[in-house]
């Protein structure tokens, strides 16, 4: 905008925007505050909650009981595992589609994206049955594979768009310079694609971490990641607001931080290029 904006207008914008922003962010803020209060204080009226004493006890309690760290580890394992597994399969596929396009490339890509639109509930029972038969129920591996499959379309898609941004001539130059396919990918493509791959990993780890259908239905005590663990707080006994808050903060903090860095990737990865 070439026009100068009056300070008054800017202040007004700032006021409104910050108010709305804080309003939207408030629940998260509230969880953070609650996590540092005792249970007795947590159920009081908001103003009294704020005035009451701060404490770290909840974080300790949540960690001691209920094997919190195991569930945290499960989330890490599954989120990163499924993403890297997906990368392994997706990098070659995206390479092929970006650099050696054929007339079917577009359709194959669209088909891959469409598999993500499959309603999970429609295949719930077969997967459940298969898992029982293969002994994969309540196993980290099983869940990792499922999450890899549901995010694979997005990983392929994002890598595809990032690869397309690499000038094809550079890869041809490598070819003329004598590089085999393997060398071309290893020494030229991958270094140039690292930022794009990092972005893809970021977004997909977030998506896998937050996934709340398969993680809820295919796991029990052993392999349950944080999504399922938190869900078990829904019918507890006794006071639990503060503990719930502490558990929640620990569960969402890593992703909130990662999320702050991945806004652009979000648009790229989840709108499938339909919005520029």
């Amino acid at each position: 905008m070439a026009r100068a904006v009056s300070t008054r207008r800017k202040s007004l914008n700032t006021l409104i925007a910050w108010s709305i922003g804080l309003l939207i962010f408030f629940p998260i803020l509230w969880i953070i505050i609650m996590s540092f209060k005792s249970e007795g204080d947590a159920i009081k009226a908001p103003l009294e909650v704020l005035r009451s004493a701060w404490t770290f006890e909840n974080y300790g309690v949540v960690q001691d009981r209920s094997n919190y760290s195991r569930h945290f580890f499960n989330s890490v394992y599954i989120a990163f595992g499924s993403t890297f597994l997906g990368l392994l399969v997706a990098v070659p596929a995206a390479w092929a589609m970006a650099f050696v396009p054929s007339k079917n490339t577009k359709n194959i890509l669209l088909w891959m994206l469409s598999t993500k639109m499959l309603p999970a509930v429609g295949v719930l029972y077969p997967i459940y049955l298969l898992f029982i038969q293969l002994g994969l129920l309540d196993s980290r591996i099983g869940l990792t594979i499922v999450l890899m499959l549901i995010n694979l379309p997005i990983i392929v898609w994002m890598l595809y768009t990032y690869f397309r941004e690499i000038p094809g001539e550079i890869l041809e130059a490598a070819r003329m310079d004598g590089a085999t396919l393997r060398e071309e990918i290893l020494y030229v493509l991958t270094p140039m694609a690292i930022p794009g791959m990092a972005s893809t990993v970021l977004l997909n780890v977030i998506l896998a971490w937050n996934e709340a259908f398969w993680t809820l239905n295919l796991t029990a005590a052993k392999a349950a990641p944080l999504t399922a663990f938190i869900a078990s707080y829904s019918s507890p006994e006794g006071l639990f607001y503060a503990k719930l808050s502490a558990a929640s903060v620990m569960a969402i903090a890593p992703i909130l931080i990662m999320g702050w860095f991945s806004q652009k990737q979000l648009v790229r990865g989840l709108t499938f290029g339909a919005v520029k």
Binding site: P167, E169, I170, E172, A173, A174, R175, M176, D177, G178, A179, T180, E183, Y187, V188, P191, M192
Partner: protein, 334 residues
């Protein structure tokens, strides 16, 4: 060492035949320029020679061996791309060394060759910089360096100067020509700029819609264009092409006369006309004269400065020994 032959080479993309079967011989050590308008297939032809595209028919022979099925890396050719295609994450040194690394050369030998190439191309001070830190001309030299170290049978240039500004282009043109004189290696050069073609080539191949219109030395193409297309393409400003009654007077469907071969005089001459727009370059003056001989304005060159103004009456006389005649199909009549 760098003799290349194309036998009945053709290329189709799907159902579209962009290059009908074509024959061409390039002798060892020649500087050959493929020139033509956009879409004429010159870059495609270059890529077929490089092996970056498969031929749809015919054979590519390099030094007598059939290289049609050989992968690009093994054809012994090096290519300089229009966008230079430098590896952005590698230093200049690593860029130039890359092909040697791929060939498995040992480190010491690699360093030697890189240093050599850098000296030849004045890049010694930039060896540790990244492409992003170089100017356009420097980047181009790195691309050339990367090609030189391979000691190829032939160099392939794909419009290497199009991304440079005009002043730089002239300088680089001379450098590339010098390089050719020094290395004496075959060079195949693609451009749409006929000035580059004329100044750099031993042999020019004029292409239109995938078909070779004429092959010859620059002078040949200038003095004896084989058809109307080549006549109008080579030479700047364009040759004046006149049809109709005036052409019929010379027993042809079209006659052609270059701007530099027309006498212009305010007093007398063969064709009467009115001066239109004029371009004063100091060294030459170009007049666009509206003449009864032709519906299109005729471009005339006068050496030095000539004081004629818009609307002045002039006479034009084409010099008969430089008049070209073409028949109804556009081919040259001797």
């Amino acid at each position: 060492m760098g003799q290349i032959e194309l036998n009945q080479v053709s290329k189709s993309f799907g159902n579209v035949e962009v290059i009908p079967p074509l024959d061409l011989t390039i002798e060892d050590g020649e500087f050959v320029v493929f020139v033509g308008p956009s879409g004429c297939g010159k870059s495609t032809l270059l890529r077929l020679i490089a092996g970056l595209e498969d031929v749809s028919g015919g054979h590519v022979m390099i030094d007598g061996r059939d290289a049609t099925e050989t992968v690009p890396a093994r054809r012994g050719l090096a290519m300089v791309f229009q966008s230079y295609a430098l590896y952005p994450h590698m230093s200049v040194r690593k860029n130039i060394a890359f092909p040697l690394r791929m060939a498995g050369m040992d480190k010491a030998e690699q360093d030697r060759k890189v240093t050599q190439a850098a000296e030849v191309l004045n890049l010694t001070d930039y060896l540790d910089r990244r492409p992003g830190q170089l100017s356009g001309g420097q980047r181009q030299r790195v691309a050339i360096g990367r090609a030189i170290v391979r000691e190829p049978a032939a160099f392939l240039f794909d419009e290497p100067l199009s991304n440079l500004d005009a002043a730089l282009r002239v300088g680089m043109r001379l450098e590339i020509s010098e390089l050719h004189k020094r290395l004496k290696t075959t060079m195949i050069y693609v451009t749409h700029d006929q000035v580059e073609a004329m100044t750099m080539a031993d042999k020019i191949v004029v292409l239109q819609a995938g078909v070779i219109e004429q092959v010859g030395s620059p002078l040949e193409l200038y003095q004896r264009p084989r058809n109307v297309f080549v006549a109008g393409f080579i030479g700047s400003p364009k040759m004046n092409l006149i049809g109709g009654a005036e052409a019929a007077k010379h027993d042809a469907a079209t006659i052609g006369i270059r701007p530099e071969h027309i006498e212009i005089s305010p007093e007398s001459g063969a064709w009467k006309g009115t001066v239109g727009v004029s371009e004063h370059l100091g060294s030459d003056t170009f007049f666009h004269v509206q003449c009864n001989a032709s519906p299109e304005p005729i471009t005339v060159r006068a050496v030095g400065e000539m004081a004629l103004h818009y609307g002045d009456e002039v006479w034009l006389t084409p010099r008969p020994e430089h008049l070209h005649r073409f028949d109804g199909k556009g081919s040259r009549i001797e």
